[in-house]
Symmetry: C3
Subunit: 342 residues, 3 copies
């Protein structure tokens, strides 16, 4: 429980209204009730008078009779305040009696290892890290401090995860990359003996996969956020603070630059170079070995600058009219010819 | 074991042939053997004479020497008869000695909880519901009556599932939605503190994900069927009896109307409004904030009415011819000019 | 530890340099160190002088002062040598005390069954097969010899897997196909009572799904390699030695010919016939009931021969120029008309 004044100070905003308003949780502008904090971005400020929330983070405006906190970025302030008001419930630390920790594994005393989780030999689990029930942490893998590993995550041997990472349920880290070479009759497996390295402050969504490298390492940089059901192929490198939305796939050896933003269901071929700050719209397809520069929105398959795609779409849309004009012109030319022939 | 006559009565059809034919199972027209029931839709009725099945559900026709049951919809009658002939084998009820049920959880006495399944505090499992081995049911979650939860399903805290739902292996319900806000340097997580509410008679395919809401609730309505490897983002609302095929992704806050049909690998952006009875063909892409009306097939990326897509494809296909015509016309105009110049 | 000479003999190559060079592992040309074997395909042979590897598999060339092995196909030779040098570490055989094997299941004495893995009644696990922790092998399922089943694989009842198959973490085999029939008001489930049959030497990537058939069998042929997060629908048949890349989905009853190559994120509709040796580029979409012939690269949605797609793309790219030409022609015709009118 905090007061509105305390929250205003925490987020660096200016309070208007009742500073002693008691706040115990967060809610949406539409459904929040008494004791709750909500937020309104500029487009929704007109809904503030009707909210049931006791306090609202707003970017501007006059809100007589309401308790509001003026901030530059209400959503950012809300994110911070929500974390502060309701820190994630951490399970009790210690190794559950139904978990198995190999005698050669190192688990920090204040880490929490859930039931039916196996920590294999040579693995390391850092301070205050929570590994939920039913996880598998392979031999020699290393999870840093303050991580949360949700149920049923599988970490193959030799994977590293930095600090403060959040790995959601069903994620598979370090499975073999997809590498085969034909001997003419059969596909011979190219042993996938590299590593997978996940940085600090990374979040990986449910049922996503990051494959281990064939040789060397697949690397996901610090602060990268990956949504659900994504596929990161072997030897891919994802630069720091990139965003990868749901169901996107990245094929082998591609490099994704730092602070790039990849939409949902994007397909990126192998050996591509997606540069720092690049933006690929949802559903876009990048053929193998292409380069996508930063700062321009790319879209479509094969992906091109969005402005090019839109221009081309406009031209294509005008095709029926163009066909009509062509027909008309043919008639006119015929008419001219007739006049000459007469 | 039922007789052909009993089956005819059960499905409301008319028997022709031997009413005492004993039926113990179901099979395909091609591979069914003695004692088995098959079905033939209109297009395959000519294959009835060659089947090894002892009884066939047919829409019409004369089938001398065979035992058939005439019904309006053979596939529907088959679906009902198959369920009746071979009800799903239910594991023994009770809590497996290797399962863990928190003392503050409520599990119906006739529910079945498999080995290495954890039912967390405050969770509820309804009557006759089967939770297979290796599942995780988070704190305060609620699963209704007569559900089947296959192995390795992860249900985060605070998720509700109605009655008679079928949740396939590897499904993740209630993982955090993908919400971040930049503070200029880093992506700050927007706490995902809402709920996920799954209705009754819902089926969700293997390894699919339904995220919890940021605030309020992600809602999957009664009777919705979701195929494998689908992604339902935070705050999405799926109306009753919608169908969503494999590998489709739905981004945040989109509303999918009741009885709509979404093909496979469809991508639906955030804040879309897919109206009741809408149909989106496989592979279609709906950009953010678009509206798709009901009753018309939409396809392509960006998705448009299928008739528009086909018309445009026809125009594009005619491009080589059009280029040729343009060239010809240029020549003719040149010829006319020459005649005038002469 | 092997000598360079032993490796040369094993892969059938010609050694140049020091035959007694000791090799204990493999690495990339860039990062390998002393005692390691690397390989260089033709395009990278110029990097051989700078490598830290003690021995390099090369296709040709003169490499004074280096120990190299000349082979026709360096990547293939490397794959073989790497497997030989570092055979996969197998867990100890036997049933882990925390595993549960039904008394009516048959587990080979030299198989390894990990903790919290359940082998249901009537199931069979073959010789030297490893089933990692947390797997579920349903009633009557059958896994052949020398397979590796990684953690958290769920095999529904009645699924068969051949010999030497590799099934990665989170894979779901034999879940219900997506089959419903409307009774006008609701979707009635069509019982999925068929089987799923996985051949020998198959590899299936993490979190992929192969559904059981409605009736009869879904079949994945010998030597097929399926990448992560793929969906193989009910009654699909995948011919021997086909390759299916990540996030591809194949809808019901489609047949994929032997030795075909399907790229990533491909969508294949139901009842398609993809013929032997077909090639579908990444992101391609095959509408229901289409036939794709072998030996030609198909791409796009709806997929067509790549040459057609490229030709059409070229025509579309020329649209702005074409519009310009059309306008010019209109002006010229107008000019001619003016001359005639004068």
């Amino acid at each position: 429980m905090k007061t509105a004044q305390e929250i205003a100070e925490y987020v660096g905003g200016t309070l208007e209204g009742d500073p002693r308003q008691q706040i115990h949780g967060v809610g949406s502008l539409e459904h929040a009730g008494p004791g709750m904090l909500a937020y309104a971005e500029a487009a929704y400020v007109d809904r503030v008078p009707a909210t049931g929330a006791s306090c609202v983070l707003v970017p501007a405006g006059d809100h007589p009779g309401r308790t509001v906190i003026l901030v530059d970025n209400p959503r950012l302030a809300f994110a911070r305040a929500a974390q502060w008001l309701a820190p994630a419930e951490a399970p009790q630390s210690g190794v559950h009696p139904e978990a198995l920790v190999h005698e050669d594994a190192a688990v920090a005393p204040d880490a929490a290892i859930g039931a039916w989780t196996l920590i294999e030999h040579g693995a390391h689990v850092g301070a205050r890290t929570v590994v939920y029930p039913g996880c598998y942490v392979g031999a020699g893998s290393r999870i840093g401090d303050d991580c949360v590993v949700f149920p049923h995550v599988v970490i193959y041997p030799g994977v590293t995860v930095g600090d403060r990472a959040v790995i959601h349920a069903g994620v598979v880290l370090g499975a073999d990359g997809f590498g085969f070479v034909s001997d003419g009759a059969r596909h011979v497996k190219v042993p996938q003996v590299g590593r997978a390295e996940i940085g600090s402050d990374v979040e990986i969504g449910a049922n996503s996969c990051v494959d281990r490298a064939a040789l060397d390492a697949t690397a996901v940089g610090d602060g990268v956020k990956i949504d659900n059901l994504c596929q990161i192929g072997h030897n891919v490198q994802v630069g720091a603070h990139a965003i990868i939305s749901a169901q996107t796939g990245v094929a082998g050896s591609t490099r994704i630059g730092g602070r790039s933003t990849i939409g949902g269901q994007v397909g990126i071929g192998d050996h591509c170079r997606i540069e720092e700050g690049a933006i690929v719209g949802s559903g876009g397809g990048i053929p193998s070995r292409k380069r996508v520069p930063g700062g321009v929105v790319y879209w479509g398959t094969p992906a091109r600058p969005l402005s090019d795609v839109k221009l081309q779409q406009a031209h294509v849309s005008r095709l029926p009219k163009m066909a009509e004009e062509l027909k008309q012109l043919r008639d006119e030319v015929q008419a001219l010819r007739n006049r000459l022939d007469d």
